[in-house]
Symmetry: C2
Subunit: 174 residues, 2 copies
């Protein structure tokens, strides 16, 4: 974990779950950081979408309509965000989400860590939170589509490219 302490303490809030079928408590996990700041993970979906847009801008993603981003978050099975919290200030520094059929398969989308916070193991921790939550929901098939430069990042987390020759494919209109 390098700069960040690896100690996590579960701190479940009493916010009711958004989706009864998810049967998931809103989860906030806290990682202590040196110098008084904390890294906090949350499955809350009440995100300032302009703050999220800023985060995505910072890594150079193409802008997407806020309206569609809101809909995508609403209809994702799981959203895990990462925050730096210092006193009563908090800053969104990471985001990830997964679609799912709530039974067998999940697909992870939109994993992002702010450039200022990259290279500290935080992306790995964010992904581990997401995977842990998916597994706790009895999802056995956790999948994603990785850009070439992050294939090794996901490989180190236990993801395998093209297992048994299975090919990720994208439809392109004629």
């Amino acid at each position: 974990m390098g700069f960040w302490k690896s100690l996590f303490t579960g701190a479940e809030t009493d916010t009711p779950p958004r989706d009864k079928d998810l049967s998931a408590k809103t989860l906030t996990e806290v990682s202590s950081q040196d110098r008084g700041a904390q890294i906090v993970f949350s499955t809350e979906r009440d995100i300032d979408l302009y703050e999220l847009e800023e985060l995505c801008d910072a890594v150079g993603w193409a802008r997407r309509p806020i309206r569609k981003v809101r809909k995508a978050i609403e209809h994702s099975f799981l959203v895990v965000t990462m925050w730096e919290v210092q006193g009563n200030r908090r800053r969104l520094i990471g985001f990830s989400r997964a679609t799912s059929d709530h039974a067998f398969n999940a697909t992870i989308w939109d994993v992002v860590v702010h450039p200022d916070y990259q290279g500290k193991g935080l992306g790995k921790t964010l992904m581990k939170q997401l995977i842990k939550k998916l597994r706790s929901e009895d999802i056995s098939n956790v999948t994603l589509f990785a850009d070439p430069h992050v294939v090794d990042f996901y490989r180190n987390l236990g993801f395998m490219p093209d297992p048994e020759g299975i090919k990720g494919m994208f439809w392109y209109p004629d």
Copy 2:
């Protein structure tokens, strides 16, 4: 289309949509067949799950708990089934479904055509129905994970493996 006539007639039922956000009318499309039988496509989810299990058995898939299959169908964004209809008898001969965030991405799962009906272009027609519906819902990124022996089937439908080096990856627990 070979044996099957390629003429489709849209015949929308007045069944209310299951998911308001999908804003999709339940769609039944009909393809005429020689000898009095018809091939019918439907997005209805009221499927006899034992009939679906029989279909999946016929192609040699491992059995899955009915309870989980029901949940997966309920939480899929879209289900398209294919039926042979003769008089008032109907037989489930194909199935497909997709998960989605209802905004950007969809992932297709569980595409199956009964062996007796393979090699007639029906799998292709089933997929085209599914893609058409996803596109009509403004989903721009249609994806799937293809077993090696069906990569060419999907390629012929316009799916590209590993576009720009993007890798499909599956998580395997340690």
